[in-house]
């Protein structure tokens, strides 16, 4: 009987601890030199088909990031912080799945976040791209030759060793915002073929 009461007490205390820790589930604490940006995405998609066929997705390409330049954009009015950081990446197109771009074209990919003057800014759901990354990107052209990734984290897939990965798998500390169409280590060829197949059906 005493053993049972002991088990019950331990279980009850453990349960309370789990409930309390879950309720107060803190996200990972950022480094002091890292500013985290929380955003509301204008558009989100529920499937690869929705994303690929969206009128906002002007281009779908495979490419490699060859350069990047970060800069700070400080509003004219006073801010509490030093202002937002953006990065312009240069992407060399290797394969065109949708749109009018051509292989070897070099386009600018504009992303919120980057590093300036010792400060790193990261959009929590959409960590900075990295020069040297090979990616499959779903893009929206907002200015001639300038693109942003449609739906932020949803529109970017990293290629590593011939496999395609959606965000949350290879870009820590990304939150898993790519639901419900996670692509964890799917063959790149298979992944591209599935996009081509979706587009052909339209």
């Amino acid at each position: 009987m005493k053993k049972l009461i002991l088990i019950l007490s331990v279980a009850a205390v453990a349960l309370m601890l789990v409930l309390a820790s879950g309720h107060l589930a803190n996200r990972s604490s950022p480094n002091s030199n890292v500013t985290i940006v929380e955003v509301s995405w204008a558009r989100g998609y529920n499937s690869l088909k929705e994303l690929a066929t969206s009128p906002y997705t002007n281009a779908i390409v495979r490419g490699i990031l060859i350069d990047a330049k970060s800069y700070r954009e400080k509003p004219q009015e006073p801010t509490r912080g030093p202002g937002l950081i953006f990065t312009d990446y240069l992407l060399e197109v290797q394969l065109v799945v949708k749109g009018s771009l051509k292989v070897s074209d070099v386009i600018t990919i504009h992303q919120t976040g980057g590093a300036v003057d010792g400060e790193t800014m990261i959009v929590r759901d959409d960590p900075p791209l990295r020069v040297g990354d090979t990616l499959i990107l779903f893009l929206h052209e907002y200015e001639s030759g300038k693109y942003y990734i449609e739906a932020g984290p949803q529109g970017r897939f990293a290629i590593q060793n011939g496999l395609a990965y959606s965000l949350g798998e290879v870009y820590e500390p990304a939150e898993a915002m790519t639901r419900p169409f996670k692509t964890y280590g799917q063959s790149e060829t298979q992944f591209i073929n599935s996009i081509i197949s979706i587009l052909k059906q339209e």
Binding site: M1, L8, A12, V39, R43, P78, G81
Partner: protein
């Protein structure tokens, strides 16, 4: 009549059942995680700070005050540029017009130099998108950003902290959420 030890056996069985139920719940809590209506970010505001929100360069979104109603019993009353007092304003809201991003609102929270608490914040509302939204959709974005200011993270589903404004499963486009407790 049952022998006296039968009652004890029943009691033991009941306790064992209760212990099992608790353990199962515990395991579920460990492996599934706790469902909650919100997720907190990594830091908090100190209680002593008044979260006045100051507005700059705004043509004037009428949705700001109702958006703040979602989180405060006493709505936030944004002050205009000329009334700014740096010593008492801890959150500044800005309007920008940026077609080169896929977000319609962004919040930056800054921790103090010595403590684990937030002490300042900037809220950016992207007029490029908001200008084309209906009023409730605009309120939905502003209330979402105010939720971040208060230290709330993203959640999926029919809640203000859903990270998408439009699209399948989105806060406004799918669920028509624009206040904490009301939908249309």
């Amino acid at each position: 009549m049952s022998p006296p030890y039968t009652a004890e056996i029943r009691m033991r069985k009941s306790l064992l059942l209760l212990a099992t139920a608790l353990m199962v719940t515990l395991m579920l809590g460990l492996f599934i995680g706790v469902a909650s209506a919100y997720t907190l970010l990594d830091r908090r505001w100190p209680e002593t700070l008044v979260l006045a929100i100051y507005y700059y360069n705004f043509s004037g979104y009428s949705e700001v005050v109702p958006a703040s109603d979602s989180w405060c019993t006493t709505p936030i009353r944004p002050n205009l540029y000329k009334h700014v007092h740096w010593t008492s304003a801890y959150v500044f809201a800005h309007q920008l017009n940026n077609p080169g991003v896929s977000w319609d609102g962004a919040t930056l929270l800054y921790p103090g130099p010595s403590g684990p608490e937030y002490t300042e914040a900037d809220v950016y509302l992207n007029h490029y998108y908001l200008a084309g939204y209906v009023s409730e959709a605009r309120q939905s974005v502003i209330a979402h950003e105010f939720g971040h200011v208060l230290g709330l993270g993203h959640e999926l589903g029919a809640v203000l902290m859903n990270q998408w404004t439009f699209g399948t499963g989105s806060r406004w486009g799918a669920y028509h959420i624009y206040t904490r407790s009301r939908t249309i």
